[in-house]
Symmetry: C2
Subunit: 202 residues, 2 copies
């Protein structure tokens, strides 16, 4: 079982990797994962692993794909069920360890990975882009309230291209994923921005 954990910080899509502290592939970076614990369902295992590394629960978490043999498992015939999750960086408290240390990596700067983990991340990114188009998956990448600009920056980071402000605003409001709050946020010598929240969440 493995969990591809994405976040967006400073306009960059980042993924959480773990530095392996044992064979095989000791010293290389890899997607967080591990074996199922006794009596645990697949989803419970993914939730647990996500919480272990980031301290976060109740976020977007979805099964991605099952790979044949990229797992670190010792015995042949085992399979790697990959999940992917989206987290708000403000809520994350990375596990503090020296061995098996987790760290964020920008997608553009990923180091050579153990097993075929590059492929897994690639599949996850493709799915993420798809999900963004027709679901409110982004709710999991932002605080409860946020400005339109913040939301747009998350979309741009994931899609890898800039978007038109007016079209973005119109399209998102048309979906009913988000709703305006009555609050504004002042943040510098310019007009304050309205805060929005995801409808259907919280």
């Amino acid at each position: 079982m493995l969990v591809v954990i994405f976040t967006v910080v400073e306009g960059a899509l980042q993924v959480l990797l773990i530095e392996r502290s044992a064979a095989p592939a000791e010293g290389r970076w890899a997607i967080p994962g591990g074996a199922l614990q006794h009596g645990e369902s697949l989803e419970q295992a993914a939730v647990r692993k996500l919480a272990e590394e980031t301290g976060v629960t109740d976020v977007f978490l979805e099964q991605l794909y099952t790979f044949g043999d990229l797992d670190a498992s010792p015995h042949e015939g085992s399979v790697g069920v990959a999940w992917f999750a989206l987290v708000d960086p403000a809520r994350v408290r990375l596990a503090q360890r020296t061995a098996w240390r987790p760290e964020w990596w920008s997608l553009a700067e990923i180091p050579p990975l153990a097993f075929d983990n590059e492929l897994v991340i690639d599949v996850a990114r493709t799915r993420l882009i798809g999900k963004l188009q027709y679901t409110d998956a982004a709710y999991s990448l932002l605080p409860t309230t946020f400005t339109m600009r913040e939301l747009q920056e998350v979309y741009e980071a994931i899609l890898g291209r800039t978007l038109d402000k007016r079209n973005f605003r119109r399209r998102l409001l048309a979906t009913d994923f988000i709703a305006a709050t009555s609050e504004l946020r002042s943040d510098g010598r310019h007009r304050p921005a309205r805060l929005y929240r995801f409808a259907n969440r919280s």
Copy 2:
């Protein structure tokens, strides 16, 4: 590992089920599946199972979802990696057995199934409907050449609604999934129909 095998016969979407001849759930119907064989990849296992039951190879076959505990496996912690496949009924030769006998069932008339197999079929049908919209997956449900009406009937069976002949034709030809051949097929006292083939599928 399990394979949801779909076909369309006489305007009805059908799924292949196996009558179980051993515990657990002996006597009930279930999705074809089984354990991985030694050294086999997940996809190879799905291909093998599909060939065992239908004699068919080289068709649409795609991973669907991995379920935690609906497998018939005896030991806890095993997972069921589900695949789904689309086959042309004309190419199928069902395995002839008395035990573990395979049979086609219309989706509307499915008997009570072993484990949670209803759920798996449901997920597969939803994915199939999605795939049909933006891929040429239907290539696998029809012979090499076919008439527009035949193709439309396949779409209608899967989508569960009738489609407008003119719009269907225009939309399909716009995709470049299919191309006209120079052949016609006469079949009764009316104008012969042009035959089409899937482009990109030899």
